[in-house]
Amino acid sequence: MTMTDVRVAPPAPEPEEVTDRARHERRLGLTLSAPAFLVMVFVTAYPLIYAVVLSLYNYRLTDPEGREFVGLRNYATVLTDSVWWSDFVTTLIITVASVAIELVLGFAFAFVMYRIIQGRSLVRTGILIPYGIVTVVSAYIWQFAFQLDSGFVNQWFGLGDFNFFGQRWSALFVIILSEIWKTTPFISLLLLAGLVQVPEEYQEAARVDGATPWQRLWRVTLPNMKAAIMVALLFRTLDAWRIFDNPFIMTRGANNTETLSFLAYRQNVTLVNLGTGSAVSVLLFLTVVIIAFIFVKGFRTDLSQVRGDR
């Protein structure tokens, strides 16, 4: 960083020509990205603002005459209701458990994909297959595996007539398991990208200095791919936080397995309670923003890592 500064500053050759070109490039860049920007505003900002407006009303889609402005009351209702907090805790449990386990597993997979020499593409494809399966399909697969009538899991482990979907913890266990199976490939792919960026010379230097493999992992590999790890964690956390498909298919939210996205869906789509539903959606959005903020500012996550350029 300082080196480039030093090199650019003293000669200063024809500064006007450079700025002219830069200006052109900047204008070209803006022109090229303008259509995309406008489309983004149209498809993201408009619904977002509309949702915020709706959240200030007591409004049922099927009772248009009963529409009434209530200010922030919907937010107060949601935030003081036990349903929201129960769903919040459920979502938190699923997020923390699945992301933590996926990080460890994903790291192992990333190492395998990185180090393997024979059958490299076969292994890489094999690891990535679960990620290519539609979540609803994978939810059904896991549901069928654990269900009393069609499942084989109880038989394999001698669990008899244990109903996995009959109570909260066992149902959450299956949901988390399905999440892990489905998205570990994603996290390992991001970690693999980080892994290949650790210069081989560092490893060699450490080896020459007599570092054990364990020391090399903790002192050389991990610190050098910290940015990639943080990005992987951020993406997966945001993903897990918005979990919907698995509980929807497996339990329909019964036995306290409803997540925040599910609550928003139920208020908006099932009850067509657009006011409260929008308030839940906006609150969900705010929690996502907070998570992203904590990662980006708190842990200084460098998002440019995803692109693979350093």
Binding site: T62, P64, R73, N74, V78, L263, V269, T270, T276
Partner: protein, 435 residues
Amino acid sequence: MNSLGKGSARRRLAAATVLALSAGLLTACGDDSGLPVITWYINPDNGGQGRLAERCAAEAGNTYKVDVQVLPNDASQQREQLVRRLAAKDSSIDVMSLDPPFVAEFANAEFLRPFDDADAAALTKDVLKGPLQTAYWKDQLVAAPFWANTQLLWYRKSVAQAAGVDPAAANFTWDEMIRTAESQKKVIGVQANRYEGYMVWINALVASAGGEIIGDVEAGKDAKPEINSPAGDDAARVIGDLARSAAAPPAMSTMGEEEARSAFQSDAGGFMVNWPYVYSAAKESVAGGGITQQVFDDIAWARYPRMAADKPSKPPLGGINLTIGAFSKHPEQALDLVKCATSLPNNVAYMLDAGNPAARGPAYDDPKVREAYPMAEVIRQSINDAGPRPITPYYNDVSTSVQITWHPATDVTAPATPEEAATFMSDVLLGKRLL
């Protein structure tokens, strides 16, 4: 020359594309024959509605075609799909087979095309009183009763005989039934899982006791819960008593129609309230070796039990109403289809074909119906005197509030449970609590 040729080629291509696209659009609404296509969204059945559709199109001289679209199995998912489409003003919805509790919600949102007086007279002629009540919203006919359903009291003759009671007697009450079952060490099959079937039971008890779950429904979300009343307390007392008695089936809190049936068919079975389908299901069970002919011969039926000996019961009401989508492009043909499908002859035909009881009274006088349904007269009476579930645009909220506060049945007490239900329901309606 070259560029000119290219240009005209491009124009020709564009013209061809436009033609192809518009042809696609035309076929989408008109079919090759140019006949209007009426889309009928049905609840899943054994194909009976599809056969009715073909017959009706033929009777209309093939002036339209009917495209039958099957909705999901679950009534609440049927509603969800229809609401989502109608909220977007889907003009492809011409005719809908609608669960009666949702009629008020759809009508209030102006999703249904009301019938004019002349059509209303034809569509409601001889229709039994129960289903008729579910077809109106704000004094206007918005739905045509197609078929109706009700629950009967099913009992084992041997159990009644041993106890010396007559469940078919006019004044047979819930209290008497619970006492009898306890003394004979038998169970009573009911629907008490946290689902719509539980609401059906609670509503029937409240209605039979002379009350209602919610009143002043046209006030929308300001409607007044009436479940915290003597009638609601009576219902809570019966449900709590049964749940805490020896007459309660072991898995009562997760019991639906099918679980109740299998409990009733078991050795411990004494009584059950359930829909008439259980009779044909038991018959099939005999054929399949599930139960013996002896057990089948032991099964008898009577009208739904009373809450008070001197007050006739108001049995549960189910069924399907036919409605016309407000945004339909072919309302005339849709009306023709509705009139045809709900006609008396077709009521009879559908009852014999699909096994669903007719909405029009005279259908039960048909000799073939009498033959297929030995209990036809009780069904007709029950449907006529049935107490529909609350007719309110907020039905979903009302029903779910009741289910949540009254489940599990073992915790139901009077007057605490009805009080709690009333408060919760009103909070939910006013947007002060989440469901």
